[in-house]
Every structure is written in C-alpha cells, then in structure tokens.
C-alpha cells in the first residue's frame, strides 16, 4: 500500500489537477464500477475458490469481464489457480500475509 501523502505530494497533485482539470464524470463512473466489480468478485472468492463461469453466475458480471478482472488480480498476486474443475481452473484468493 502507498504511504501517507506528504506536503510535496499534495502540492504535485494540486498542480496536476490545475493542469489537467478534474477527473471527467465518465471516468469517475468507470472507476466506481471497476471497484464495485472487483469487490463483488473478491467477496465471492472469500466464500470459496471458484471458476470464472461460477463467479459470473454468482456476481451477475459477464464472464468475459470476470476473466479480465481475474487476469488482473492474478498478475498482481491477489489470486492464484487452485484445483482444476473439468475444463476450468478454480481461482482462490492469496492471503495478504503470504
């Protein structure tokens, strides 16, 4: 996790906003939806390891979107493959302490 923002960081961010303007509404909405989906997938995985189609059914997020999130989470070490389930892999959360 990033550390606390220093005064220098705040100054830089202020300058950045002055230069680039506020974050557009569409981007804020997109980011919000992204976080919500990531949260729903994480919560579903907290119950039990699951395949992408299972997660899609559980969270009502389209399977391609679930796969996209899982790929991202795997890249950053948040999930990993558990057992194979037929043609699919089950994914499980990686505990923070690991």
């Amino acid at each position: 996790m990033p550390g606390k923002l220093t005064a220098a960081h705040r100054q830089a961010l202020k300058l950045f906003r002055e230069r680039h303007g506020n974050v557009p509404e569409a981007v804020k909405l997109y980011a919000k939806e992204f976080r919500q989906r990531r949260k729903r997938i994480t919560e579903a995985l907290q119950e039990a390891p699951a395949t992408v189609p299972e997660l899609a059914a559980k969270t009502s997020i389209p399977a391609d979107q679930v796969l996209w999130h899982i790929a991202g989470m795997r890249k950053y070490g948040e999930v990993r493959e558990a057992a194979a389930d037929g043609d699919y892999m089950k994914y499980e959360l990686v505990k923070k302490s690991e």
């Binding site: 100054q11 830089a12 230069r19 680039h20 557009p24 569409a26 981007v27 909405l29 997109y30 939806e33």
Partner: protein
C-alpha cells in the same frame, strides 16, 4: 513531481495537425464508423485537416499526406490504420517526403487493436477509435523533432570461432572489403566439419570443404587469423566494441577446450582491438553419452557416431571393431536428443535435451548405407523413433537404405531400447519393442552398436557473460525472432552464425554464416551507425544527484555518473550514453524530480495521452463495458 513550467511545444499559433484515417479496404471501416470518427476528430484542438482513404498506405494515400503537409503547412501528422509494425516506417517516410521531421508523426492502430478486437461492438469500437486518436493528438502536441542517433563506426568485424561457420563469415566479409579478426580457440582452423569424413548429401569430404574456405581466408590479407586465441574482455556497443584477445592461450581441457576461460596463462599475451560487429560462430560439441547410457562405457562394442565415422575412414577389407569382425551392426537414433522428462535422466543442469539435433538421422543413414555398400554381408539394423531426413536430397538416403536391405525397427520415445551383454557369448543384445510390427518385442544380437549422438552447444559461459548473450531453454544462443530476425541477438551488433544457435547441418550453417556476414556488412560499410532516437535524456539542471536511477539501469554503461552540484554540495549526476541506452524507461520511473525523460516518449506526452483517452467526446462516451 509535476512541474509548473512546461508548455505544449508548438508555434505561436499552436500545432497544425493532420489526421488520416484508413479504411484498410473494409478491415477497419466494416466495424468502425470512420465518417463519425472524422467528424469527432475535426472538432479537436489543433486539427486542421482530417481525411479518410481506403488504403492510406497506397502511393496516392502517401502522396496526399505529403501534399497536405506542404499545402496546408501541417506540422504534426496522425495516421490511424493498421499495426505500426506494418506501416509506421511507411508513414514516417511519407511525412519526411512532405518536408516534416519523421518523428512528428504518430501511428494509431485501429485494426489489430480495435476493429479486429471488437467486431461485434461497432459503436464501442468507433468510440475507442476516437479516443485512441485523441491520445495520439495529445502526444503529438508535446512532440519534438528528433534526429536518429549517429555514431562513428569501427569498420572491422570480430568473428569468434574458426569452424566452417566462422570461416564462411570471415571469407564473405573480407570478400566485401571488410577487415576481419578471426579467433579460433584450438590450434587449427576447420572445426568439426574437418573431422566429419564424407558429408551428406553430396558425399563431399568435410576436410575438402574446409580446405577451400581456409585457403580463402588465409589468402585474403583483410583477415587476421588468431589460433589458440580467445576473447577475454569486451565493452561498448554496436559499431563501437572494444575487445581484448588473449593469444597463445591453451585450452583448459577437451579436444577443443571447454571454453570456461580457466586456461593456462603461460606464454599468453593480450592484444586490444576495436570492432563494429561481432559474429559468434562457436559451434557445437557432439553429445557425450553418460556412462551406462545405452551401455556406453560399459560395453566396448557401444560407440558414438563420431567414433564410428573415424573408424570408417580407414580403408579395410572387412568391418572390424576391437580386432574382431563385425557381422551385425546397429544404429540407434536420438541419443542425447528428443529426451523426455521422466523417461530420460536429466543432464548436469537438471534439464533434458528435448530438442531434435536434426543432422543425426541423415548422418546415421549415410553411415548405415556406407557399411552396406562396402561390406554387403554385414547386417545393418536401424533403431529409430522417427526418420527425419528433412533436407533436399536427404530422403534419398532413407529410400536407398530401405532398398539395400537395412532393417528398420521403430521404438516409442517412452519405451527406450535396452542394451545388454549378448547371450551365447556375443557382445551385445538390443531389446526393443518394435512398432513397425505392432509392438512385437525383438531381441537383436549385435557385434557393434553406434549411438547417433546429437549436438549440444560448445560451452561458452565466458562469452555469454562478456557479451550478455541471450541463451534459450535448450542452452543454445537465442535469436531475436526465429523468422524475421534469425541471426540477430538482443545485443545490437552481435550476430549468430551456425550451430552456436541451434543444431544445423552444413548447408544451414553456411546460410546462417552468410546471413550474419551480410548483416555485419550492411552495418560496417557505413561510416556511421544509425540508431533510433528513443533514448533517455537527463536534464542536468533538474537532477538532484540522488543516484536512484543508477541501480535501475540494466544496460552497463548506458547511465554514466558525472560530478555535479546540487544546492552547493557536490553530487553525482546522471548522464545518458545514447549508444548504449535502449530506452526502457526504468530510470525515468524512479526519478523524483522528473529530470529524466525518454525522447519521443516524455512524461508530458504520457499525461497528454491519458487526457486524450479519458476526454469526453459527445456521442463517444466512455462506458465501463467497452473501456475494458
């Protein structure tokens, strides 16, 4: 940190941008609504003209861009078409023909990254096209004209290895008027080919081939030959390598030395040289079977193919081994090649040799046939998994072997033949499950078994470390791209010739050596080396001497520490050597003051691209679904 003082780089009136969208004959326009894209782009700041063409890469398309630059005083160009791998260079050149610096050009990929990726979402693909172009326009707004880096060139080549590949490369380079230093570790030029006997497919003596090439290099004063020599130091970059060569260096062990550099230094002297290109032609070693592998080292009647070839070189009225006549001889394919994990014991580095050595099938059949022709009464058995006589004229050896009555037995890779002491006092028995007779177990009594040993790379650990050569999983040196850049490695100016790269037969080796020589010649006939301008640059005024960038740089010599001053205190500031920098950006990322930037890819340009990607364009809103 963000700085307050930077401004878009453009004339007083702002940039004059031309945007050209390609239909790609429908590849793009069948999905992306290019008219809507043009309409949206026309409204963007700085865009003077926006046009569509069915094939922008065609001559009229390119001419239109060059003409518009002149007629409308455009100073920035975007082409939105296919992958930049295809046509970025095309359009940079077109822009240059219009009189503009070729780096005031941005290429947007609307095909591979848009229309082909989203064929079922035309509206989303169209919105994405608009944003990708907006990002390119943003990036161009901060673009500076760039010049390719030009570095003077040491017009001399170093060829390491005096086998047939090194000889061929040296001969070709010298033939083009380029001086060559040819290094051979052993006492003599010629390498393995000189010891091969007759070579397939034309039955020419290997020694004769080598003799011809040796005469060529020895007869050309441009080639300086150093035997018992090895490379001991190398630094620099393409066009500018400084090397040190140890002479009179005795190989540490083995017939050709083991290349580990632990050589005797008695009588050794060193010379220095500057070269523009280095060709690696260090070749292969025949696979040495482990003790007990198919009875090798346990039974005197189990020999390797090179040993057998040497024996066959002697004229004799009958085939004899260890003084005894040979009535039944067997050849076993794939020894040390095409090994399977779990079936074959691993090599000393824990890996199995899973590659095909490519030359052994034809070489075995060539020897088998020679036995049959010289000694018709000897029975010849061939134990194989597959027959891979893939080259021109090679299959002929198989056809003729079959016709000559050689007995073929085919085993599966996971059910290897077993070699045992022969019963009834005979020297050997090979037990094999033969799949040409549908899995019948056959015991073949033999007087001699020849192991068709494959190739392993000649050990060159020192060279790999010195020149930072990339090594593949099979331990051979690895090219940049097997098809598109077959003799280049990731280190610019270093080229591969022959079996240092992979198992090859002599024809393939010579082709590779010619290719490497041509590549080197292209480089060395020029007075200057030209490199892409996308390298890091340090703004010394902004550098605070924190030294965080130095440990991040993976390219020795690319980032140089120079004494400087910050707040009145002496510090080490960074400077970039553009010849060695590859523009990876690792130093940029850790700089706390944004003092380092990549030319052509500045942080400001990235900011502007992000702004372009997230900007609100009416009718082309960002949605969570397709933004992914």
């Amino acid at each position: 940190m963000i700085k307050a003082d930077s401004q878009p780089r453009s004339g007083a009136e702002g940039p004059r941008i031309g945007v050209y969208v390609c239909r790609c004959g429908g590849n793009i326009s069948d999905v992306v609504d290019v008219d809507a894209v043009i309409a949206a782009v026309k409204g963007m700041a700085g865009v003077i003209t926006a046009k569509i063409d069915t094939f922008m890469c065609s001559d009229p398309g390119q001419a239109m861009i060059a003409e518009d630059i002149r007629n409308q005083a455009l100073d920035r160009i975007v082409v939105a078409s296919c992958s930049p791998f295809l046509h970025e260079l095309t359009f940079r050149t077109a822009v240059q023909r219009g009189g503009l610096n070729p780096y005031l050009y941005e290429h947007v990929n609307l095909r591979e990254q848009d229309s082909w990726a989203h064929p079922h979402d035309p509206a989303g693909a169209t919105a994405k096209a608009v944003r990708l172009i907006a990002a390119a326009i943003g990036k161009l707004r901060y673009a500076e004209p760039l010049e390719r880096i030009r570095i003077s060139n040491h017009r001399q080549a170093l060829v390491i290895g005096g086998g047939i590949a090194g000889l061929k490369a040296a001969a070709e380079l010298a033939g083009k008027g380029i001086p060559v230093l040819l290094l051979e570790q052993s006492e003599k030029l010629g390498g393995w080919v000189a010891k091969l006997g007759k070579t397939f497919p034309r039955e020419i003596e290997g020694a004769a081939l080598v003799k011809e090439l040796v005469a060529e290099v020895e007869g050309n004063p441009l080639v300086r030959i150093f035997t018992r020599a090895r490379l001991v130091a190398a630094s620099g970059f393409i066009g500018n390598f400084d090397v040190r060569i140890a002479l009179n260096s005795l190989p540490a062990s083995g017939p050709n030395g083991d290349g580990t550099g632990s050589a005797s230094t008695a009588g050794e002297k060193q010379i220095s040289a500057s070269v523009g290109a280095i060709i690696i032609a260090t070749g292969f070693e025949p696979y040495a079977p482990a003790k007990g592998e198919y009875g090798f080292g346990e039974h005197a009647a189990v020999v390797t193919l090179p040993e057998f070839v040497r024996q066959m070189a002697h004229p004799a009225g009958e085939l004899r081994w260890n003084g005894k006549p040979v009535r039944n001889v067997g050849f076993l394919h794939c020894v040390g090649s095409r090994q399977i994990e779990g079936v074959h014991p691993p090599q000393s580095d824990g890996k199995v040799n899973d590659y095909c050595s490519r030359t052994c099938c034809t070489a075995i059949l060539q020897q088998a046939l020679a036995v049959k022709q010289r000694f018709p009464r000897v029975n010849v058995f061939d134990f194989h998994q597959d027959i891979r006589t893939y080259g021109r004229g090679h299959e002929d050896y198989y056809t003729r072997s079959s016709a000559a009555g050689i007995v073929f037995l085919r085993f599966h890779g996971d059910e290897l033949p077993v070699v045992e002491a022969g019963r009834n006092g005979g020297p050997l028995t090979v037990r094999v499950k033969d799949w040409l007779t549908f899995g019948e177990e056959v015991d073949v009594p033999l007087d001699l078994l020849v192991l068709g040993t494959g190739m392993v790379p000649h050990p060159i650990r020192d060279l790999i470390d010195l020149l930072k050569l990339p090594v593949g999983a099979d331990r051979f040196l690895q090219e940049v791209h097997p098809k598109l850049r077959p003799v280049e490695v990731a280190v610019n100016g270093v080229l591969l010739a022959g079996t240092a790269q992979a198992p090859m037969n002599i024809e393939e080796t010579l082709s590779a050596a010619s290719a490497a020589a041509s590549k080197a010649a292209i480089l060395l006939t020029r007075e200057m080396v030209e490199l892409d301008p996308f390298v890091a640059e340090v703004n010394a005024a902004e550098c605070i001497g924190c030294e965080r960038c130095f440990p991040e740089c993976a390219y020795t010599g690319a980032l140089i520490a120079e004494p400087g001053e910050f707040n009145g205190a002496p510090v080490q500031k960074a400077r970039v050597n553009p010849g060695l920098c590859v523009g990876c950006g690792a130093c940029v990322a850790v700089c706390p003051t944004r003092a380092i930037d990549l030319k052509g890819w500045t942080l400001e340009q990235f900011d502007a691209m992000v702004d372009g990607l997230v900007a609100t364009v009416p009718g082309h809103e960002l949605s969570a679904e397709e933004a992914n």
